[in-house]
């Protein structure tokens, strides 16, 4: 049995990017959320908690969308599926990163 995994080699690199991009967006988003909360809620109190929350609320939807919208909706090869899954998992994780701001007010 020959697998349907023989994606043409010139398509491999774009698909690989599509696998990694959502995860990298998650990483950037996570660092941003952590930095905002740390800036607002540590002793130094660099920014007001309100602005930190607002920043997270404003940034999260586009980040999640970016992870999802760029996804490959088509393609039945395993590699393309991987890109699709990576974007779904990453987008969900991005949304969950915003949970503290949605569920808790201020620094708590």
């Amino acid at each position: 049995m020959i697998h349907k995994n023989g994606l043409p080699s010139d398509k491999l690199l774009p698909v690989l990017r599509d696998i990694l991009r959502p995860a990298l967006i998650w990483a950037a988003h996570f660092v941003l959320v952590y930095a905002a909360l740390s800036a607002a809620c540590a002793q130094r109190g660099l920014i007001d908690p309100f602005w930190a929350s607002l920043l997270v609320l404003v940034v999260t939807p586009p980040a999640a969308l970016w992870a999802i919208v760029g996804a490959r909706r088509r393609g039945r090869s395993d590699f393309e599926r991987a890109a699709r899954w990576s974007s779904i998992i990453s987008a969900l994780a991005i949304l969950f990163n915003a949970a503290p701001v949605v569920l808790m007010g201020g620094c708590g």
Binding site: W26, Q43, S77, F79, A82, R84, W85
Partner: protein
């Protein structure tokens, strides 16, 4: 679908040893004691595995001591000090000297065989890593002989681990020995990255790569990013212990929680670093016994990649009770739950793979089922622990002990034992016993649950971890008694396995070719370890080449069609590929046996022991010797520009000077590690600055003028090393690189002189940051000097561009690090930030 039952496979005898005398002579393992100079991945991988197994047995014995002490309340079997040493060393050995190294050992052994490479891509680095691991492990263990075994827990929390509360050498043994052993993990990580990306069989694109290689690739990246925070933490703590700089001292603006952040920034990804290779083994073994490919290769790839990222966002869930703001707790709580998604995807991929065929219940399969059963429970309790209020009760109680053993024994030890049963024929040419294997499984499985399932309850009944004893009557007595009895059963199971492993080397039945009917390339040859791989490297059209390319098994393995048949001019070489498409790009020349890796590791060992003995002159001399070893290591004729006729793939160049070449990929991998080290330092500076604002004004500020000068010189460094990389090797181009590196370091040093590192934690951390940049600059200078000397000795032709190309990338990274340091040093001069 190919038929996969073992009995129907063509059985072959051993490879005749005079088939290709030149090839076999080139790859021969040195005889007798000279085998210590071998750098072959087969030898090095088996050394890692056997050494890891020995550490596992020692750590397991320590666990039995722990359980025996806790068998009854108020027990006096061990005194408190011994108990603390025993549980500290149990955790330390299991995490640092067993789990990671043994999995890396399997990767070192299996990856080249699965990928279609003749050896791991940097054989000497593999050997060097092994010696570092062995020497580091011996240093840690030797503390028992000096009655100075570490007793501060494997987590070494400050301030308990500072010299005030832990005088003597015990903590130093831990910090120095473990950091040394971690060099092995990090070098192996860089090597695995380069090996997976650069030495695959022709046609093995990323999407045709065996799933185990994906797991190891992600794991290697995680090690490269995840280990540096602990290395930095350990260096800071050792400096505080030896030189008194106040990184964690609250009276000088330090913070005990900084240690916890650094430790868990390593410690949490570590759990997944241990889980992923084991899951990769499951994903490799499972399809063999089902007779169908893994269901959802794409799912698994996505899950592994996203898990690699997400697992870095949960470190603080080990710190829920430290008084972090509730909003941060909620962030880490939510992020922690999310890692369950990629885990769940993998588990269901495994489960539904079962549904694709008629699975065979062999011993490895039993262990896989045990893994599924145990790991799912561990995953579910892990999700429970992500809940903050529940965590406040369960944290540091026996509930967590239960959880982590479900995850680690279920997620790693069970697959590992399965892997031993599965791949042993490779090591010995013989099969382990199905009967003893079943005994081992059922004893381990039963004993495990008796021991650890009850601990959930023990923990919720209020028993904290790490207690040497407990009063009777609190409702813990019977549970502990049963847990201890269970641990003996578990140990009996492990002993049956070890007995079988030792026994089968002599008396196990001879293994046929591809004994399990697997589809992956490592079973191409009959499992009588010939000491070399692939007389010719076959072109690969599928993920399971042995299933889908029947011609491979039709005749003797050494006659299989492929590229690069034999050894040209008696050299060791393998095919280097394009990282993505897997198409041949170059020929990679590999080294023959050499003692240099052993010497290099030995010099570091001497430096480590001398540091422990406060003999700093000897330590310094050993480090100079280390530099000499590295110079000897790198002093070899450059072979760029030669070509090799590979047969089917035509003529390929040797060691190309290209950004996709293997040494450049490894340079990038190394820079990733260095960037993570530097990032950990920057995190420390920012953290202390943010958490202790009162202390940031006390320390002096860096001299802005000299800092700016250093920044300017860094630009010169970047430019000169890039020009040298671009223009090719010329002696005249090495000089500006060398001079600008030295000058940059000098400028930075002068700028730093106004800051007294003893004043505050931030000042001390800034000094370490500058020191780190200084080491980078030293490497640049040393490298340039080395290249210049080579050119002076006429070793270099104009097309030998590889070293200069790599130095160009390294120089760019070094320059950027200097510029970041300059920004950090200049920032306090801006109004309002200090």
């Amino acid at each position: 679908m190919t038929d996969t039952s073992a009995s129907d496979r063509p059985v072959q005898g051993p490879v005749l040893h005079d088939e290709m005398p030149e090839f076999e002579a080139a790859w021969a393992t040195p005889p007798g004691w000279r085998i210590l100079s071998s750098v072959s991945h087969r030898v090095v991988g088996q050394r890692f595995i056997v050494t890891g197994l020995v550490f596992f047995l020692i750590a397991g014995f320590l666990a039995l001591l722990v359980r025996t002490q806790l068998i009854v309340p108020n027990n006096t079997f061990l005194d408190a000090e011994t108990y603390n040493q025993v549980f500290t060393m149990h955790g330390t050995l299991m995490m640092f000297l067993f789990a990671i190294p043994i999995l890396e050992g399997f990767a070192v052994y299996l990856l080249p065989l699965m990928l279609g490479a003749r050896d791991l891509i940097f054989p000497r680095m593999g050997a060097f890593g092994y010696w570092c691991y062995l020497f580091g492990g011996i240093i840690v263990l030797s503390s028992f002989l000096f009655d100075a075994a570490p007793d501060g827990g494997w987590f070494m929390y400050t301030p308990l681990s500072t010299s005030q509360y832990t005088p003597g050498l015990s903590a130093d043994f831990w910090l120095i020995g473990i950091t040394f052993a971690e060099i092995a993990s990090v070098t192996a990580a860089v090597e695995i990255i380069a090996a997976v990306l650069c030495t695959r069989a022709p046609g093995m694109s990323l999407t045709r790569m065996p799933i185990f290689a994906w797991y190891m690739l992600v794991t290697a990246f995680m090690i490269a990013i995840g280990f540096p925070p602990l290395i930095i933490g350990s260096i800071l703590l050792e400096i505080e212990r030896v030189a008194g700089l106040p990184f964690f001292d609250v009276t000088a603006g330090g913070d005990p929680l900084l240690w916890q952040h650094l430790f868990w920034l390593f410690g949490h990804p570590e759990v997944y670093i241990i889980f992923l290779p084991a899951a990769g083994m499951v994903a490799t073994m499972l399809p063999t016994f089902v007779g169908k490919p893994l269901f959802g290769y794409g799912f698994a790839v996505a899950a592994v990649v996203t898990m690699g990222f997400i697992s870095f966002g949960l470190w603080a869930h080990h710190m829920f009770a430290t008084g972090l703001p509730t909003i941060s707790l909620t962030l880490f709580s939510a992020a922690s739950t999310m890692v369950a998604i990629p885990t769940g995807v993998q588990i269901f991929s495994f489960i539904f793979t079962l549904a694709q065929g008629r699975p065979r219940l062999t011993v490895p399969m039993l262990f896989i089922l045990g893994f599924l059963f145990i790991f799912v429970i561990g995953g579910l309790t892990g999700v429970m622990l992500a809940s903050v209020p529940f965590n406040w009760q369960a944290h540091d109680s026996y509930f967590v002990v239960a959880h982590l053993h479900y995850v680690l024994i279920g997620g790693m030890v069970f697959p590992l034992v399965g892997a031993f049963y599965y791949w042993s024929p490779h090591f010995t040419g013989r099969m382990m016993s199905e009967r003893l294997g079943r005994w081992a499984f059922w004893l381990m499985f039963t004993g495990f649950h008796i021991t650890f399932f009850l601990m959930h309850l023990t923990g919720l009944r209020g028993m904290p971890r790490r207690v040497a004893t407990y009063p009777e009557g609190l409702g813990w007595d019977r549970l502990n008694l049963l847990s201890t009895l269970g641990s003996y059963i578990l140990a009996a199971g492990v002993l049956v396995f070890v007995w079988d492993f030792l026994r089968h080397r002599m008396s196990g039945p001879l293994a046929p070719r591809d004994p399990w009917g697997a589809g992956t390339l490592e079973w191409l040859y009959p499992p009588i370890a010939p000491g070399h791989n692939f007389h010719a490297i076959p072109r690969v059209h599928s993920r399971e080449p042995l299933w889908d390319q029947p011609e491979l098994l039709r005749e003797h393995a050494h006659l299989a069609e492929g590229v690069l048949r034999g050894a040209s001019h008696g050299m060791r070489e393998t095919v280097g590929c394009h990282p993505v498409t897997g198409e041949p790009l170059q020929i990679v020349r590999l080294p023959k046996p050499t003692w240099v890796p052993l010497w290099a590791a030995a010099t570091i060992a001497v430096a480590a022991v001398a540091t422990l003995a406060s003999a700093y002159v000897i330590a310094g001399a050993a480090l100079v010797a280390m530099l000499v070893c590295f110079a000897l290591w790198a002093w070899e004729p450059s072979q760029t520009g030669e070509t090799v006729d590979t047969g089917p793939e035509g003529v390929l160049p040797v060691n190309v000077a290209d950004r996709l070449g293997h040494t450049h990929i490894a340079t990038i991998g190394t820079l990733l590690v260095l960037a993570a080290l530097y990032g950990s330092l920057l995190f420390s500076v920012l953290y202390l600055w943010n958490v202790h604002p009162d202390f940031t004004t006390i320390a002096g500020l860096a001299d802005p003028l000299w800092a700016a000068v250093a920044g300017g010189l860094a630009l010169v460094l970047i430019a000169s090393s890039k020009v040298a990389a671009h223009k090719g090797p010329r002696l005249g181009l090495d000089v500006p690189v060398l001079l600008s590196a030295v000058a940059t370091g000098a400028g930075l040093f002068v700028a730093m002189l106004q800051i007294d590192p003893r004043d505050t934690a931030v000042a001390a951390t800034l000094w370490v940051m500058a020191g780190f940049v200084g080491v980078m600059l030293f490497v640049m200078a040393f490298w340039s000097l080395f290249l210049a000397v080579r050119k002076l000795f006429g070793q270099v032709a104009p097309h030998h561009r590889v070293p200069d190309l790599n130095r160009g990338s390294f120089g760019l990274a070094t320059g950027v690090m200097v510029l970041i340091a300059v920004v950090v040093l200049l920032a306090p001069h801006i109004e309002g930030l200090s």
